[in-house]
């Protein structure tokens, strides 16, 4: 059974969370907020915390936020399911996906 309280919220867009922030590494410098050309993020109301993903549906996965992050590991991509890749091991012929 779900333990959390249930609220009346609208649907989440696709993607809903194009990146995942890692608060133990991220120091909330907001550099990603600045380099994003479409303002996917806003600064967190609490200083020093990772930004808020406000417009995830507008993310075009240009990668600048992650590539330019001054603290590598503070954020990682979270590719939408339909965009995951397939590849094959040449030696074994086994088909793999990037989550395997």
């Amino acid at each position: 059974m779900p333990r959390k309280k249930t609220y009346a919220l609208p649907n989440v867009t696709t993607p809903g969370q194009p990146v995942i922030f890692h608060p133990e590494v991220c120091n909330g410098c907001n550099h990603c907020v600045e380099v994003c050309q479409i303002d996917v993020y806003i600064p967190n109301p609490e200083k020093g915390k990772p930004p808020v993903i406000l417009h995830p549906d507008e993310c075009w996965y240009c990668g600048c936020c992650i590539n330019d992050c001054p603290r590598p590991g503070a954020m990682t991509f979270n590719w939408p399911v339909q965009q995951r890749a397939y590849w094959k091991d040449k030696a074994t012929g086994k088909v793999l996906r990037d989550s395997q």
């Binding site: 959390k4 309280k5 609220y7 919220l9 989440v12 867009t13 696709t14 993607p15 809903g16 969370q17 995942i20 922030f21 600045e34 380099v35 994003c36 050309q37 479409i38 303002d39 806003i42 600064p43 967190n44 109301p45 609490e46 915390k49 990772p50 930004p51 808020v52 993903i53 406000l54 417009h55 995830p56 549906d57 507008e58 993310c59 075009w60 996965y61 240009c62 990668g63 600048c64 992650i66 590539n67 330019d68 990682t76 991509f77 590719w79 939408p80 965009q83 890749a85 397939y86 590849w87 094959k88 091991d89 040449k90 030696a91 793999l96 996906r97 990037d98 989550s99 395997q100």
Partner: protein
């Protein structure tokens, strides 16, 4: 706590808007040269104008550090015939490129003459253009003396599809050596360096400001452009820029026919911000536009959909052999040295592949056989090229994290597994303002650069035309006094821009976007005739009169998206008007009229132009090579061109 819904759950309320709201304030900026759009072309225009000592302001919807199609990176500096390894004369290469029907001879000539100098200046500013770390010793195309790396692209012909362009023996390359026209670059280093140089030269940068309309002298349509207006998309503050000359270096339009406003970028090849704002404002100001009737095929639901640029990491890139599911080599070009960079199979090979798929000779899916490549070439493709290309570094990194090793793994290719039929929806096809040899539009004071130029090229085209337009705009600004701004024009624009925040209810930008897209899908698609085109104009008029007044924006960001919709609406109206004006079909323009089925009749092989005069659409025309002799005209107007910048 990084998703908006987290805040609702934790605090029971949404986070407050993080920026001050200033819908009621207005800022006025006086400048000599105004640059509208801070992508590659805009940054170069600003730098080149600022070098003349004039006051320059640069306005950008995002943040100049990474904005624009070339902001994330660039892997190929294309069509650089003036580079020291080239075997073809720049003027001859430019002529060759301009033979393509409905190309832009002016932009092409500028690119071919000046993009090598532009690249050297990029290096001066800190951009990386050579293999200085000797990471790719032994790679084909690497010149050990200069450490430049030539790409196989265009080494034989200027085409991606074999047989599309007749092989040419260049007078300047009688022995038919490789053309060596395209240079690999480390383009992720470019945009931050350009912003830094803009700042160093004292350019005033206004990030997060969307320009919404041009100011014309006394507010008269067709008069000299004397500035522009816009608003800050974080604070909502209104901005009035007064200028002696302006450079329009905005983006194209990539989402006009798309219903879906989610998954941005996958479907459009570009970010959400490319909404044809520049074409819309040039049109309203009275500039003549051309090629607006041309359409492209939307990269959706076809093999194109999974290009790297589309964010999907398809296995089809340079020197990569494609094999079927059993490892059998396909007659598909490798985009490499063995086929001179060809990207798509010739029609004959495509037929063989289709028949092979149907008969079982070639099993699906296809794969890119990275392990079969020589190690250094594999690293050049996977590490250098795909890491430096716009929007693809994250794919390389993500696959790496997921365990993909190109030395061991074949990467799936999406051709045929998602069908092979072209999509029915169009895209706008690279039309734009008519320009002269100064890259000036038909309006005094308005110059055009980069993707906003009709039939534009890619990154090096944007850089070199930006640099050129900035120079010409500065020369004009030096000779002329400031123009007179109309207060009425400012007041009218303010009313237009803020309407969506002035009511509490209505429709959201996403719904309006879908409505505009649907009208274009119905009336501006594959089958066109006068009746359908007029129905389309009626449909857009209805949207303008009935639904636009209902637009409602929650905050300055959504206000920007709303005003972008209005750009798209205008863009659609221009396309339909231009389509009515061309009363013939045309293959190179991907334009077919049921009521005028004759394809490319000689009397219609010309540029059709459209413009507004007293708010009435006025068609016109220009001969195909209206620019005259490219070499002579370029030289006559650039006697003072000093080559690579030597100043401070």
């Amino acid at each position: 706590m990084t998703k908006w819904q987290d805040f609702l759950e934790k605090d029971g309320k949404a986070p407050a808007w993080p920026y001050p709201i200033r819908y009621d304030t207005e800022q006025e900026i006086d400048t000599d040269v105004l640059i509208i759009g801070g992508g590659i072309a805009g940054c170069w225009a600003a730098i080149s104008a600022a070098r003349t000592g004039l006051k320059v302001a640069l306005v950008e919807k995002g943040d100049t550090i990474r904005s624009g199609a070339g902001g994330p990176g660039c892997d190929h500096w294309c069509n650089a015939p003036a580079n020291p390894l080239s075997n073809v004369d720049p003027d001859e290469w430019a002529e060759h490129m301009a033979e393509l029907p409905y190309s832009n001879g002016i932009g092409t000539q500028i690119q071919c003459r000046e993009d090598w100098d532009t690249l050297l200046e990029m290096e001066q500013m800190g951009g990386k253009i050579r293999d200085t770390g000797d990471d790719y010793l032994g790679a084909k195309g690497r010149d050990d003396k200069t450490k430049l790396m030539i790409s196989p692209r265009y080494t034989r012909v200027h085409s991606y599809i074999p047989g599309m362009v007749k092989p040419v023996i260049f007078k300047s390359n009688p022995d038919q050596k490789l053309n060596n026209m395209v240079i690999r670059v480390w383009g992720t280093t470019f945009k931050p360096a350009l912003k830094k140089e803009c700042k160093r030269l004292g350019v005033r940068i206004f990030d997060r400001v969307m320009v919404t309309n041009l100011l014309t002298e006394n507010g008269v349509q067709g008069a000299r452009v004397v500035g522009a207006m816009g608003f800050n998309n974080r604070t909502g503050e209104f901005m009035v820029f007064k200028s002696k000359a302006a450079v329009l270096s905005t983006a194209g339009d990539w989402s006009l026919y798309l219903l879906n406003t989610e998954l941005a970028g996958y479907n459009t090849f570009r970010s959400r911000t490319t909404t044809g704002d520049g074409v819309g404002m040039a049109w309203r100001a009275g500039a003549a536009l051309t090629l607006m009737e041309r359409s492209g095929i939307l990269m959706l639901g076809t093999g194109f959909k999974h290009t790297w640029y589309g964010g999907a990491g398809d296995a089809s890139y340079e020197n990569l052999p494609l094999v079927d599911a059993h490892g059998k080599r396909l007659p598909w070009p490798t985009q490499g040295w063995e086929d001179a960079g060809a990207m798509r199979p010739s029609p004959e090979d495509m037929e063989k592949i289709i028949k092979g798929v149907q008969s079982g000779e070639y099993a699906l899916p296809f794969y890119g056989d990275f392990p079969a490549m020589p190690d250094v070439e594999r690293r050049v493709t996977w590490r250098l090229m795909l890491t430096e290309e716009s929007t693809t570094k994250n794919i390389v990194d993500s696959y790496g994290k997921g365990g993909f090793d190109p030395a061991k793994h074949l990467l799936q290719n999406y051709s045929f597994v998602e069908g092979n039929s072209p999509s029915q929806w169009r895209t706008a096809g690279g039309g734009g303002p008519v320009v002269d040899w100064d890259l000036k539009s038909t309006l005094d004071g308005l110059y055009v650069a980069g993707e906003q130029v009709f039939s534009a090229g890619d990154h090096s085209f944007a850089a070199s035309t930006g640099r050129y337009a900035g120079r010409k705009a500065a020369a004009y600004a030096k000779e002329i006094a400031a123009g007179k701004v109309s207060k009425e024009q400012v007041a009218k624009e303010k009313a237009r821009v803020y309407a969506p925040v002035n009511h509490d209810d209505g429709i959201d930008w996403k719904e309006l976007h879908a409505g505009i897209a649907r009208a274009m899908q119905f009336f501006g698609s594959e089958f066109k005739d006068e009746n359908l085109l007029n129905m389309g104009l009626d449909a857009l008029k209805e949207i303008e009169e009935v639904h636009v007044p209902r637009l409602h924006a929650l905050d300055p960001h959504k206000l920007m998206r709303s005003i972008e919709d209005l750009s798209l609406l205008t863009h659609g109206q221009i396309i339909l008007n231009a389509s009515l004006a061309r009363r013939a079909s045309s293959r190179p323009l991907n334009f077919f009229r049921i009521d005028y089925p004759q394809v490319d009749p000689p009397e219609w092989q010309k540029f059709v132009t459209v413009k507004l005069e007293n708010n009435k659409v006025k068609p016109g025309e220009l001969p195909l090579r209206y620019w005259g002799n490219m070499k002579a005209e370029y030289e006559a107007r650039n006697k003072d061109y000093a080559g690579v910048y030597q100043g401070k």
